[in-house]
Amino acid sequence: MDHTVYLDHAATTPTDPRVVEAMLPFFTERFGNANSLYALGRDAASALEDARERVARAIGAARADEAVFTSGGTESDNAALIGLATAGGRNRGHLIVSSFEHHAILAPAEWLGKHGFQVSEVAPRTDGVVHPEDLASAMRDDTVLVSVMHGNNEIGTLMPVAELAKVAHDRGALFHTDAAQTAGKVPFDVEALGVDAASFSGHKIYGPKGTGALYLRRGVRMAPYLMGGGQESKRRSGTSNVAGAVGFATALELMLAEQADEMPRLTALRDHAIDAVLARVPYARVNAAEARDRLPHIVNFTIPGAEGEAMLLHLDAAGIAVSTGSACSSGSLKPSHVLLAIGCPVELAHGSLRISLGRSTTQDDIDYFIDRLVPVVERLRSMNPLYDKTVAAL
């Protein structure tokens, strides 16, 4: 393909060459097992602990041992939900998750619901935000854990996590947040937010896939999710992925170092994309447009009368990578649970298109995307037997 415009940075990012370089020695020369007592092992252990300190500092943790290295967002989410709910042998109680969490939260919540716990979902409002009042009314005396994501991966809205955590704490529950899409991109400080646990993913921030961390506030008990050799202070067994930990720490630090320049740049590009799509694609709209607090790099459009997967495939043929929440691309009959949760009608959710920007994105990329999108939408609408009816009903 001679022209590639990658507009799917919320799905994954390329690993930063500086990250690769920092990792390389740990594959070949400094390959020791961090649990071994001899010099090679001690060298690996000290690199691991150095990476832990850097991660802890980057997320505002008070102590280095509050950061547990994991294989990424999914593992951190699973470990937090199941490990916090079942800590100390607990096998009943009430949990609350928001209804537009990533499946890495929804699936373990459903599992807990089948294993003794009661699970409630708190819905975001149409602005794409989970409001503290709504969480407060879902809280019960027996609520042990609340999990609400920091930033939504499909629509890019940010939650008032500090206020949500306070609601949970006022009723004696723990609060976890999924920060896989947000850490490094917008300010994230576990002390300022007051969360008990938080999930991070390396590959969303130009780190390697299969890396990440779980923040666990000192004193918060968690049943271990992976058991064995007792690594990570018994919270996550398995021979330490020192290269991965170093890569994740480096990626996170680079994000922070560049945040002040990069995020305003992405925000301006995102707003340019929004203006151009709304101006050039009739009836297009932005999902959860009214939210003021949002991630700089994610925007989700609804294009009535054009199906998401069909748009995605035509754009792919022009070398453009985007994503969609349409049912047909998910392999199930249901379109995106995120769009449905914010009240987007099913028919419109089929016509959703998410673009997510990143380091490689230029104004030319955005303009190329829009120049290709306009004829794709025209063509698909001209083939749609219901197009006139659809727009008449808008």
Binding site: G305, E307, G308, E309, A310, L313, H314, A317, S326, A327, C328, S329, G331, S332, L333, P335, V346, E347, H350, L380, M383, N384, P385, L386, Y387, T390
Partner: protein
């Protein structure tokens, strides 16, 4: 999930797109709530499909299966066309991912409804039998996955 080259070719250059003015039979199937909707218009001469066009709102597989079913049906007798199965449509495209088989049901159903529409309008008995894609309880993935 991967589409074959033939699926992508029909998706990129669909055959017989549009609406026939003054058609002999019309079939519209699907439901915007489950995503895919298809409309077939056709002309009949000597009980053969002499012309056929489609419009489809749907994914890549929905558009490709619509396109190929019109190619397959063109020139067939009505009783031949009504026998085209979703599996034949998928085979003609070199296969479809399992989760996409329901899209080929839409194509064969659209054709069946259009043929019966023609027959009934001419005072003849319908021959297509029941169709499945417009049934609200129809879950294509149940049988395929």
């Amino acid at each position: 999930m991967l589409y074959t080259e033939k699926v992508m070719e029909h998706f990129g250059n669909p055959r017989n797109v549009g609406v026939i003015e003054d058609p002999d039979g019309v079939g519209e199937v699907g439901n915007p709530v489950c995503g895919d909707v298809m409309k077939i218009t056709l002309k009949v001469a000597d009980d053969c499909i002499s012309d056929i066009k489609f419009q489809t709102l749907g994914c890549g597989a929905a558009i490709a299966t619509s396109s190929i079913v019109t190619e397959m049906a063109k020139g067939m007798t009505l009783s031949e066309a009504v026998m085209i199965t979703k599996q034949q449509v998928a085979d003609e495209l070199g296969g479809l991912p399992p989760a996409k088989m329901h899209c080929s049901v839409l194509a064969t159903d659209g054709l069946k409804v259009a043929i019966d529409d023609y027959l009934v309008k001419h005072g003849r008995a319908p021959i297509a039998g029941p169709i499945t894609s417009t049934d609200p309880d129809f879950d294509p993935h149940e049988e395929e996955l």
